[in-house]
């Protein structure tokens, strides 16, 4: 669609409508099917390459974040289970980090995910969300992108960089998905690490606090945490004797306090289930949720893509063509008319031919014409409009009998365009008398039967006609009403 941005509607509509009609049964298609079909017809090898690069870039980022999660998960467990065989692994640390911290981070992630419509009315909440998103592990994609081949990097920037506005929703859920993938990898690695440690070492768990905490309080906490599995796995629910036996003081140098070290290892099912239920499970659920949101974001982006409605209009509206396939060329409107007109006294008396079909003979109009053209008249004939072809021939014959040099004036309606008939008549006229006999074209204009100035456009039209006749002895003679003789 961004490629189409530079194209005009007149180019887009024929193309898109042709695509729509190229599919058999175009009416039976659903909107999404129609759009997919349209896309498939326009997709270029370049587009396919970009799509492959984006998919491959995404995979690489996912793998990178997963590996980072595994590494951090292993390191965290190694740190928390630091045990030299003398003291005990403090359960308080484990619960705080593996349950408390993980749940807090999950909670903050959920807050960061909340849609704007739910948080609009809380002042400052948007900034808080943005801050939280800034710490999202998914944002490390930028770091990973740097180490990727150029093609993959370009693919990622197409989706998350250059077209960020269009893909806002996709970008958001893609980054959250990557973050959850990181979280899942972290927890799986942590679980495996705990299992490996327990399987390969003797780990003694204990709890210790300066505060005077009653073992029954600890019991209520462990019961609360064990609630999800207490019914089907009671062995993983610590009991009071175990809690009391696990209470230790460092001054006792981790001494067994008369309790078998084997008993202190009974905490491991509880620890692993805490990690699974409060670390892995929420992250796994969030990952599934984010993946679903991401898919829905892709669909929604396609549904709300800018220009989608216009594209559908182009696909579904009939292409109406009304233009000619070819147009006239060689229009000589641009050629300026040669100023082949004059307004000056014509000393010799003219043979006048009334071609206009107006009542001129023996009228006031004739006097006006003669005055306006500074003319005198020797004879007068009628031809052209209102006359038959025989009349025209008769006039030509009569004129031929008169002196061969006597100039001719042809009275014309200025407002009517010059026709081929007049050109033919002049050509026949030219055959009589001297070839250098002057012929004056006298276009006139009337208003309420009185002579008025000829409009400039009309005058130019007659000048153009005179030029087209290619006869140097033919001139347009301008009639200027009111001119002095």
């Amino acid at each position: 669609m961004s490629r189409d941005d530079g194209l005009e509607f007149s180019e887009l509509h024929p193309r898109d409508r042709a695509i729509a009609l190229s599919r058999a049964d175009p009416e039976g298609l659903g909107t999404e099917e129609q759009l997919s079909y349209w896309l498939s017809k326009l997709v270029t090898p370049d587009d396919q390459r970009i799509a492959t690069e984006i998919a491959s870039g995404h995979r690489l980022i996912g793998i990178g974040l997963g590996l980072l999660g595994v590494l951090l998960g292993w390191l965290t467990i190694m740190g928390l289970f630091q045990y030299d065989g003398q003291g005990r692994v403090n359960l308080v640390y484990l619960v705080v980090v593996l349950v408390g911290l993980q749940l807090s981070l999950t909670g903050l992630t959920i807050i960061a995910m909340l849609p704007q419509s739910m948080t609009r009315w809380l002042p400052g909440f948007k900034s808080f969300q943005q801050l939280l998103r800034w710490f999202s592990p998914g944002r490390l994609q930028k770091l990973f992108s740097r180490f990727m081949p150029v093609t993959e990097r370009d693919g990622i920037s197409q989706l998350l960089g250059r077209h960020q506005k269009i893909y806002t929703r996709i970008g958001k859920w893609q980054i959250f998905s990557w973050s959850q993938l990181f979280g899942v990898a972290f927890n799986i690695a942590a679980l495996l690490s705990v299992f490996v440690l327990i399987a390969t070492r003797d780990v003694a768990f204990g709890w210790s606090s300066t505060l005077d905490i009653d073992p029954t309080s600890i019991l209520s906490v462990t019961n609360f945490l064990s609630w999800p599995w207490h019914a089907w796995l009671p062995a993983a629910v610590p009991d009071l004797p175990l809690i009391e036996a696990s209470h230790y003081f460092r001054l006792q140098n981790g001494a067994a306090n008369g309790v078998s070290p084997k008993v202190l290892g009974h905490w491991w099912p509880f620890v692993m289930l805490c990690l699974a239920f409060y670390g892995l499970l929420p992250r796994l659920l969030l990952l599934l949720f984010c993946k679903a949101r991401l898919s829905s974001a892709y669909v929604q982006t396609l549904q709300h893509f800018p220009g989608r409605k216009e594209l559908l209009t182009r696909l579904n509206s009939a292409l109406i063509e009304t233009r000619a396939s070819e147009h006239e060329s060689n229009v000589d409107e641009g050629i300026p008319a040669i100023n082949k007109s004059q307004h000056q006294r014509i000393s010799e008396a003219l043979i006048l031919i009334n071609w206009a079909g107006l009542k001129v003979e023996n009228t006031r109009l004739l006097d006006e014409i003669l005055a306006a053209g500074q003319l005198t008249m020797k004879a007068m004939f009628k031809a052209g409009t209102n006359c038959s072809l025989e009349d025209d021939e008769q006039v030509i014959a009569e004129v031929g009998k008169l002196a061969a040099d006597t100039p001719i004036g042809i009275i014309l309606k200025a407002w009517e365009p010059p026709l081929g008939e007049l050109a033919d008549f002049i050509a026949d006229l030219r055959k009589t008398g001297s070839p250098q006999r002057l012929i004056y074209l006298l276009p006139l204009a009337l208003k309420s039967k009185a002579l008025v100035q000829v409009e400039n456009n009309d005058l130019q039209e007659w000048q153009r006609f005179s030029r087209q006749l290619a006869d140097p002895w033919i001139t347009v003679h301008q009639l200027v009403p009111g001119a002095r003789i």
């Binding site: 800018p306 220009g307 292409l319 009304t322 000619a324 147009h327 006239e328 409107e333 365009p417 081929g420």
Partner: protein
């Protein structure tokens, strides 16, 4: 008789035949000239809907030797019912010869079954020279109608009507230069009345054109909305080194900013012209310039958009909205003081800031050092109103412009002043809300959608 309705537009030279064809065929590339003889060959303008021809208009050259042609026909005539056949013989006989080039060209489509649309100029008087050509057309025996095209004035329209009624079944006045869309479709329906079998395809054509017109309005609304949202949110950034003097870059950045906005507006106009099939108007840059009192001539902003008082009121309302949000956040404990003070600051601020366009700022320290110089987006609250005013006005000029028009687009400022006041209060309120979102570049996708709906309604209303 041909199955597809075909209409030959014929007449005396230079009486606006090509103008009528250009207007009916929505083709602004037809050679329309004031000089006669511009059309030398018949030209076909088929009206196709998805490739299916519904009717065809044929532009023809004017009669040049009607008297001579009629004399030939009369000479050849044996019986009155032979007349159409005599006309056919005339065309066959003279085809390819110099004597009747134009007559053959214009009569051929008619003897092949085309209906006759005879065109005269209602601003010029009737004369006997028309009689021969009307007689020849009558000889063809084809269905015919006359169009009086008043080029310039309608001084002789009634005289013409009296004459034409004697020769033609239907006579209509049709000014190719001023006619609107509905008048065009009305004429097409009239063409359909010439022959029973032509009615249905012509009605179908009118239906398709009406649908196309509706789509054009929707597409124009979408295009304008896209442009306005983009321009209101547009900003430019330039990274400069920490030691560089920002002043050196500010002016160039501002120039680039304004030029880009101008280009965006121009691009939108071209698209709107293309949507309404005025593709050849693009080449007439000078024609568009007249309309184009520069986008950033601030003194015109009060003309295109809100005047100073309206602007102040709108800003006051926007300020008050911000204040109300504060009130809501403190649970109304501020006893609406937020709304009052917000309103005053918004109003007064906008009055004094009315001549400013966009904000310029230098911000941020980049990870590898350096600063970011930013220009935009346009902060002036009048900007969306100005953009919309200009775009809607341009659209209306284009949508109503017959395709025979070759004149410049003329800016009539007095008309324009009223566009906001013509809106009813509810639509005006919707507009103010949208413009408020646009000014603050809030949720562009939703704003664009709402703006498209608003524009579609406005355009539809204007069309009525």
């Amino acid at each position: 008789m041909s199955l597809i309705p075909r209409f030959a537009v014929v007449g005396h030279p230079n009486k606006g035949k090509s103008s009528i064809v250009a207007t009916l065929a929505l083709d602004d590339s037809v050679a329309v000239a004031r000089s006669s003889g511009t059309t030398r060959h018949s030209q076909s303008f088929p009206m196709k809907v998805d490739g299916q021809i519904l009717y065809e208009l044929i532009d023809t050259p004017g009669f040049q030797r009607a008297r001579k042609a009629l004399a030939w026909l009369q000479n050849e005539e044996k019986k009155i019912h032979d007349r159409p056949e005599v006309v056919r013989r005339f065309v066959d006989h003279w085809q390819g010869k110099d004597a009747f080039v134009d007559e053959c060209e214009l009569l051929r489509p008619i003897i092949n079954g085309a209906g006759i649309i005879y065109v005269v100029d209602g601003s010029r008087p009737y004369g006997a020279e028309y009689q021969a050509e009307m007689e020849i057309l009558r000889w063809t025996g084809q269905p015919s109608m006359a169009l009086i095209n008043p080029i310039g004035s309608d001084e002789y329209v009634e005289d013409w009507r009296t004459v034409l009624n004697q020769y033609f079944k239907i006579t209509r006045v049709f000014n190719a230069m001023t006619v609107d869309f509905y008048k065009r479709t009305e004429i097409l329906n009239a063409f359909g009345q010439l022959q029973e079998s032509w009615r249905q395809p012509l009605q179908q054509a009118v239906g398709s054109l009406t649908e196309m017109r509706k789509n054009q309005h929707q597409l124009a609304a979408a295009e304008i909305a896209k442009m306005v949202v983009k321009m209101c949110a547009f900003k430019l950034e330039k990274k400069i080194s920490s030691t560089a003097e920002p002043m050196k870059y500010q002016s160039a950045l501002a120039t680039k900013f304004f030029n880009t906005l101008r280009k965006l507006e121009k691009k939108c106009r071209r698209q709107v012209q293309s949507i309404y099939q005025h593709t050849h108007l693009h080449s007439q840059e000078d024609a568009i310039e007249l309309l184009d009192s520069d986008l950033f001539r601030l003194k015109d902003w009060y003309l295109w958009g809100l005047n100073k008082i309206q602007l102040s009121a709108v800003s006051a309302a926007a300020g008050a909205t911000a204040g109300l949000a504060v009130d809501a956040a403190v649970g109304g404990a501020s006893l609406m003081l937020g709304a009052v003070s917000g309103g005053i600051i918004g109003g007064a601020g906008s009055w004094f800031m009315a001549d400013k366009i966009a904000r310029q700022k230098i911000s941020g320290i980049l990870p590898l050092g350096g600063k970011v110089l930013t220009y935009g987006p346009v902060t002036n609250r009048n900007f969306p109103y100005v953009l919309l005013g200009r775009a809607l006005y341009h659209r209306s000029l284009i949508a109503d412009r017959p395709h025979a028009q070759r004149d410049q687009l003329i800016l009539q400022q007095t008309d324009q002043i009223a566009w906001l006041s013509r809106l009813n209060p509810q639509r005006r309120k919707q507009l103010d809300k949208l413009c408020n979102h646009l000014s603050q570049a809030e949720s562009p996708v939703e704003t664009r959608k709402s703006l498209v709906v608003w524009l579609e309604q406005t355009i539809r209303h204007a069309e009525k």
